[in-house]
């Protein structure tokens, strides 16, 4: 069977899987951005209890493997009466795992804002909340976006794992087709190429565009 007839027969199935992969990517990205901002802020809090909670969360999720967390959410949480759908548990596990990594990036960004900005906000008698919201947070985006972009590409790759908890995504479809036809090179090769195209031609340009936008917003031209 030539490659083109393979594509004609199974291409639509793989594309359907790709749609699910993109859905997981978008949902997990939204969740991880929210979590990383919350825990990144908690991490720089002056209250040691809040800071401790954030540290434990971050160390816990960075210390155990994503796959273990994913299986734990999907197979063990039902023991405690929380049954999540496969798709939801995939998004939750990936979002929480990458949120822990993202929180460290956000913390780094907040620390990297020049001291003069903090002092200026003190001098103008801004409340801590207003200082954070109006002065510090808008300035962290040009700093955190390059590492966050790397993390988001990692997240795209991590979405392949949700296939292991029966989410019918691109990886799952490729595996399924492989077990029917045993044309491994074709189906896994196509899957690899699709992931590459998503990352190289859609995700990375979008993230670069965000970086340029953020740099322009605070009046910094990109180097």
């Amino acid at each position: 069977m030539s490659y083109f007839s393979f594509l004609a027969e199974h291409g639509s199935t793989l594309l359907l899987g790709t749609v699910t992969t993109v859905k997981v990517l978008i949902c997990a990205t939204i969740l991880y951005v929210i979590i990383s901002i919350i825990f990144g802020l908690m991490r720089v809090s002056n209250n040691s209890a809040i800071q401790g909670v954030a540290t434990i969360y971050i160390e816990f999720f960075r210390g155990t493997s994503l796959m273990v967390q994913l299986f734990w959410v999907y197979y063990v949480l039902p023991f405690f009466g929380i049954s999540l759908e496969a798709f939801t548990s995939g998004v939750v596990a990936i979002g929480m795992n990458f949120g822990a990594y993202g929180a460290e990036i956000v913390r780094g960004g907040i620390i990297a804002v020049p001291k003069g900005q903090w002092e200026g906000a003190y001098a103008l008698n801004f409340s801590p909340a207003k200082r954070m919201r109006r002065i510090i947070l808008p300035q962290i985006f040009p700093i955190i976006l390059p590492p966050a972009a790397n993390l988001t590409v990692e997240l795209l790759k991590a979405t392949a794992l949700v296939a292991l908890v029966t989410v019918v995504d691109l990886t799952f479809e490729a595996k399924q087709i492989n077990s029917i036809t045993w044309l491994s090179a074709q189906c896994f090769g196509t899957a690899l190429i699709i992931y590459y195209i998503i990352s190289r031609f859609f995700l990375v340009p979008f993230l670069r565009w965000l970086e340029v936008l953020a740099a322009r917003k605070v009046g910094k031209e990109r180097l």
């Binding site: 155990t64 273990v68 491994s184 690899l192």
Partner: protein, 225 residues
Amino acid sequence: MNAEWKWDFAYQILPKLLWATLNTIMAAGIGYAIAVIVGMLFLLGQRTHYKIINILVREIVEFIRSTPLLIQLFFVYFVGPQFGIVLSAWVSAMITIGLHFGTYLSEVYRGALEGVPKSQWEACRALNFSTIYTYKRIIFPQAFPIAIPGMGNYLVGIFKDTPLLSTIGVAELFHAATAVGGYHYRYLEPYTMVGVIFLTLSIPAAMSIRKLERSVNKAQGKVKN
């Protein structure tokens, strides 16, 4: 199914999981050793004077870096037999991990080499040192400390990605936990214990890397904060 934690069951499966942990550590160690060497090859490929090899290696690295490890594992494991090459699960796992993390390590090496100030190169040129001598005595001793933290991070990274190997049947920790869980139809204890074992191994490792990073920075005269 009840959510009660059974200690006797946990004790019963603990030896099995600990033995499997040895396999996990072995997989991470061998995979890392391969990745360290493959990373150097990728770096060499990107630094040769032949333009065509440069571009080719660059594209290969880009491709491997932006596709999931899981599918690469499947690809290596399942495609071989199609062409009459049968690789065992262990061999294909080590090849894949070596290639995948080799690309990351080549980036670490590149960053480290670029971290050595350009004036060092110029001084060597002025002193008429040969290229090999320059690398051996001037550049590598300065680049290596810069590379240590990144290299350490990827060692922990490989360790945390070893559960993926269970999908092609490498008998490591996660595989053992799934097998035990399936046999007794209790997943609460095995998976939780896997998490705990990972935590107890990776947190000290990450902490010692951070310590190493700090001492490297201090030795280089770059003190943070």
